[in-house]
């Protein structure tokens, strides 16, 4: 209720400026109720599944069989978590996922931003066709390149490492990154780069100290997109997965469901809970960082 009061207080000044026809009061009130119901629905839809998975992860096999579904676990039974951690090797999977995601992301951002700079800011013949050539990669679905890549990695003897994943992600991430970063560079006034070169800066210096800060929003957007697509990828990780010690979280969870999930409900729910809530904690930490970064940027600008 207090938040509502605050909200309408903040809006009032603006609303008062437009002429309000009579009879709006009733509309306002029902609108407020409608909004509250809507928010309630959103909360339930978003939170209940997560709550359910957490509650279920503490239940014993006996409770699954004999008690109604919405009964809460009687005690905090961590045995499921111990079982899940030991049989599913989630720790190793998490390390693999983080390694692959971070290395691929950094490589894509560096290569992609530099390429976009060369294609959009620098002036040379044929840059348009090269840009089109790279952006055309957006049309290539991963399925089309999966089988040949498998043969290549096999012949190069790379299959027993995380390298196939990292190399594939880099190649796959480049088209979108180049396309998006080129768009961001296009929106920067050309005069800024011309001024930089007139001031005697080398092209590398103009890229690092003029170009990069101006497109940092683009880099930020791109890193979010890349993070989610790589972290949540299954098809590449599954194709090039050669042993359990090289599984990412997604593959590990899939195998765990196939091997134990049908019988061991508790540990399966515990495994899902670990993955879900660990990801959420990471996300919340990043999210805070994001908000800070954005506010700092806007104050400076």
């Amino acid at each position: 209720m207090t938040t509502n009061a605050v909200r309408s207080g903040g809006v009032n000044a603006r609303d008062r400026r437009r002429a309000e026809p009579s009879g709006v009061k009733f509309g306002r009130l029902s609108r407020k109720t409608l909004v509250n119901i809507l928010i309630g629905v959103i909360l339930v839809v978003e939170i209940y599944p997560l709550f359910w998975i957490l509650a279920s992860s503490f239940k014993t096999q006996n409770q699954f069989a004999n008690e109604p579904l919405w009964s809460l676990p009687t005690s905090l039974n961590f045995q499921n978590y111990v079982d899940a951690w030991n049989t599913a090797q989630l720790g190793q999977d998490a390390i693999n996922s983080i390694t692959v995601t971070v290395i691929s992301m950094v490589a894509i951002l560096i290569l992609g931003t530099a390429a976009a700079f060369a294609l959009e800011v620098m002036v040379w013949k044929g840059r348009g066709s090269i840009l089109l050539f790279i952006v055309g990669g957006l049309m290539v679905p991963i399925q089309l390149i999966l089988l040949p890549l498998f043969s290549i990695y096999f012949q190069l003897g790379l299959t027993n490492s995380l390298a196939p994943l990292i190399i594939t992600y880099i190649g796959q991430g480049l088209p979108l990154t180049v396309f998006l970063m080129a768009t961001y560079f296009r929106s920067v006034p050309r005069e800024l780069f011309e001024a930089c070169t007139l001031d005697g800066g080398s092209i590398y210096r103009c890229f690092i100290s003029v170009g990069l800060p101006l497109v940092r929003n683009g880099i930020f957007t791109m890193s979010l997109l890349l993070f989610f697509s790589i972290w949540n990828d299954l098809i590449v990780a599954l194709t090039f997965n050669s042993s359990q010690s090289l599984s990412t979280i997604q593959v590990g969870l899939l195998n765990f469901n196939g091997e134990y999930g049908a019988t061991l409900y508790g540990p399966l729910f515990a495994a899902i809970s670990i993955v879900v809530f660990a990801t959420l904690i990471v996300y919340m930490l990043i999210n805070q960082q994001v908000m800070k970064g954005l506010t700092a940027g806007s104050v400076k600008g």
């Binding site: 938040t3 437009r18 928010i39 959103i42 909360l43 209940y48 599944p49 997560l50 359910w52 699954f64 069989a65 109604p68 579904l69 290569l111 530099a114 390429a115 060369a118 294609l119 800011v121 620098m122 002036v123 040379w124 090269i130 790279i134 290539v140 679905p141 991963i142 399925q143 089309l144 390149i145 999966l146 089988l147 040949p148 890549l149 043969s151 290549i152 096999f154 190399i167 594939t168 880099i170 190649g171 088209p175 011309e194 070169t197 590398y204 972290w231 949540n232 299954l234 098809i235 194709t239 979280i249 997604q250 969870l253 899939l254 729910f269 899902i272 879900v276 990801t279 959420l280 999210n287």
Partner: protein, 295 residues
Amino acid sequence: MKYVLGNKRAIAVFLGPALLVYVAVIIVPVVWSFVYSFFSGSPAAGFKYVGGVNFARLFTDPTVGSSLLFTIKYAVVILVLQIVVGYALALLYVFVLRKLSTFIRTLVFFPVVLPTVAVSLLFSRMFAISPQDGPINSVLNLVGIHSVDWFSTGNNAFWVIIAMDLWRSAGFYAVLLYAGLVDIPEEIIESARLDGASGPKLIRHIVLPMSMPILIASIIFGLNADLKVFDSILALNNGGPGTATTPLNLYMFQTSFLYSDYGYGSTIAIVITVLCLAATLLVFRSSRRDLSKES
């Protein structure tokens, strides 16, 4: 000045590495894949040249037809829902919740970051009927409806997949479109309000046209992602029952790795590529026309 911005060596340094990786990881395998489509076999069993047999098989294989149909049906339904729900949420953030939208925005975005397999396992248990009813069936029981075996028919499974992928991705489209709406200058909306536009009228004549570019971008991005659906269905029900909810992608994966037929797998992959290409061109061309009409 032009000389510095046209520095050949710098261009090579900036562009070279990306171009090299791109050609090696994308272009070479694409060409290779087309070659594969004229062969049958796998790296382990060896390859045999079969000419156009794989392409002819596309037209006689009933699973190709059904999975192509499923892929298109899935992509159209989920895309419409993603854009409509995403846009509605974005409007809610910008015009109703305003400064207080951060919490809801973050919450609705949560499922986006969750690994797809975890979400699929969660939904398969939510809609479960055995060994115990999941929450969905329990709620149905409460209002007097018998438990539904959600994964026993293709149609039921289809709607579970739609519900799951919408839950998973709506927050993403909401934030994407929200970013577009926030960029609309406050003065334009303010002056439209002074001119008497409000509510649906304001949205239709001012907000919607102003957010057209980001909408088109979302549609193209979404369409390409939706036509390539794979992870969520593989982990949810593996395309069952039978092949009723098998998208082309999953069929290609099974053909290649389960039945070790790289040649036919590559041929199906080409179908997927052509499909994505055609869809993107369609959206691109119609959006071009729209944009030029407005300007």
